[in-house]
């Protein structure tokens, strides 16, 4: 009974942890502008994160080593430092966006400006990260994030034309007023929103935090093969909501409030409250994950003690880094436009991803790390193909960012 509870909670966490402010805005916007013509990028991203998170989880469970730990050892300190720099920049931007995102959710719920909520959210975040046990924290926000399942109900109640949606998803089409650059830029953004490196860094560090061993591989697999696809389904729901309720009205998504309007249409006030509650949990959870990932990766690079699984006094550098991350992100959240930062972060994620995923692919095939649980042939085939895709995206990102002028 306890084991099955663990598996269930693992799934809940994965669902709750998949949707963040970047997904809420970015996936809905893609639906509002291109219908389901970008669904393929989202699904491809979902497949990628499932494969690579599984590798990261397996490596962590068997060798008790988290991803960044492994990156420096296998690729050397110079390459790992470049990777670390990119990773830290991204997780900082993400933490900034998520803290601001919490503010935006609370603003919608209360009418009080988001700037007032930001420092409060930051303090709450710090208190939770400082005091609560890792497992406890993960499960609370993971369970609360389940409220995001309201997205699936909202889609159902909107009575979309399934045939037309499927046709568009399978036959992508670019509206004439949208440039080809915008299409590919948003494609990369959909992919990036699903495959943000912090998910993998956090998942593998979390596996070590929870002291997973080979006997926990079932939980790990449930997390990855049920939880993450369900999370992808939620992202797809956001895209459908954009396609069905916003696109016909000519509404583009630039604010969180626009994401809730179709939910209000289909489910009324109750639906909106569920949405806000779920969004709060998901975005707050993402803020915790992103800030932890920043501290994890820096500590893992230097080999310094990290984690909430040891006494606070045994990991002083880790907690100092965590506090610094939250402070810096909070200041940034008060200064910069959170939506712009979010969208920039998910696109840059796509650019930085190959650096994180390549060593993971090698190590997941290394018996020294995973014993006899090396990747299967099919997994390797697909993973290498996806790595090539990621490398191409990586190269295209900055030019597209320039050509679309940040999607304006």
């Amino acid at each position: 009974m306890k084991k099955s509870l663990q598996i269930t909670l693992g799934i809940l966490t994965a669902i709750g942890g998949m949707i963040d402010i970047g997904n809420l805005i970015g996936n809905t916007e893609a639906g509002a502008r291109f219908g389901l013509s970008l669904a393929w990028a989202l699904v491809l991203g979902g497949l990628t994160i499932v494969l690579y998170a599984n590798m990261a989880g397996r490596v962590a469970a068997v060798s008790h080593r988290a991803t960044f730990d492994v990156i420096r050892e296998r690729l050397g300190p110079r390459v790992a430092l470049v990777d670390l720099g990119a990773s830290v920049l991204l997780t900082l931007l993400t933490t900034l966006a998520e803290i601001a995102g919490v503010g935006l959710v609370l603003e919608l719920a209360t009418g009080v400006t988001y700037r007032i909520w930001i420092p409060l959210a930051a303090v709450a975040l710090w208190m939770i990260l400082w005091r609560s046990k890792f497992e406890h924290m993960e499960r609370v926000y993971g369970t609360a994030g389940l409220a995001m399942l309201v997205l699936l109900f909202a889609v159902w109640r909107l009575h979309p034309d399934g045939g037309a949606l499927t046709h568009r998803a399978l036959h992508p089409w670019r509206p004439p007023h949208e440039t080809v650059y915008a299409y590919w830029y948003l494609a990369i953004a959909q992919f990036g929103a699903m495959t943000t490196p912090y998910e993998v860094l956090f998942f593998s560090s979390g596996a070590v935090e929870e002291r997973w061993t080979t006997s926990d591989l079932n939980v790990e697999r449930a997390n990855v093969f049920i939880g993450f696809p369900l999370g992808t389904l939620l992202a797809l729901a956001l895209m459908i909501i954009g396609a069905v309720a916003l696109k016909p009205r000519g509404i583009g998504v630039a604010h969180l409030s626009q994401v809730g309007l179709p939910i209000s249409l289909s489910l009324g006030r109750t639906g909106v409250w569920f949405f806000l509650f779920g969004a709060f949990a998901a975005v707050f959870g993402a803020a915790a994950e992103a800030s932890l990932s920043t501290a994890y990766s820096i500590c893992q690079y230097f080999g310094v003690q990290w984690g909430k699984y040891v006494k606070r006094a045994d990991a002083p550098v880790f907690f100092r880094l965590l506090l610094a991350t939250i402070v810096v992100s909070t200041f940034g959240a008060l200064i910069f436009d959170p939506i712009k930062v979010t969208l920039l972060a998910i696109v840059l994620s796509a650019a930085a991803i190959p650096l994180t995923f390549f060593p993971l692919l090698v190590v997941a095939n290394d018996p020294d790390f995973v014993g006899d649980r090396v990747n299967g042939r099919f997994t390797n085939l697909v993973s290498v193909a996806l790595l090539v895709v990621m490398a191409l995206m990586s190269v295209a990102t900055i030019p597209l960012l320039i050509l679309t002028r940040g999607n304006t």
Partner: protein, 241 residues
Amino acid sequence: MTEPVVLHAMRDLVDRQIVDADDLLAGKVDDLLLACGGAGPTVTGLLVGAGALAPRIGGRLGAAFEDVVRRLSAPQWEPQCLSPDLYRRTQSAIELTVPREYARGVAPRAPVHRNLPRGPVEELEDVRLSDLIGAAVFDASGFPVAPVGDARLILSGPAVDAVGVAMAVDGLIIGLGSVGDRLGFRLPHGPKRPFMLHRAFRSVARHARLVRWSEIDRLEPREVHLRVRREELHTLPDDGI
């Protein structure tokens, strides 16, 4: 007489995680301290600390990195030197035999900035592994050969789970093969997949060469000068641990 046990310094020692006797993380192996003797250098200690890591980064990035880390680490900028009696090697990490606080207390500190070694190898005293890795290699005729990628170490005891095992530098591994070597592709029990990567790295690895320490004439800053010609260099033996 048993087969000598062999390690590659960069692949098997450097950048490995150090874990103390209480299972707490205690940094990574950032460099190796080598004492040059008659037959060749021996590893006298593992250097741990940002002061040992920063010079290995190199270039503009390394200079910026060094600057930041020095400001943040003061006053503990100098790396510490862990002697062989304080640690043992395990399959995936280095384990201390004592708690990390104790190790911090007893391990001496090594200077950060020093002159790079130069002169005939017989006259050298202390050398660090990072002085050698990446150094340009020139053969007896002065022709450039590939840069140094790794160092081959011979152990006078078991490679895993033994404390105080003396490690001597048998020679230097040069050539691009060291990239794949570092990823573990050359080990018999290393990764054999993904198939394409395995093939690619193994074919490049064939070009790696071994320079025995006795074949080195002298060192200059970031340069290794050999006594032999490049045609006489040995192929790398297939080492299993």
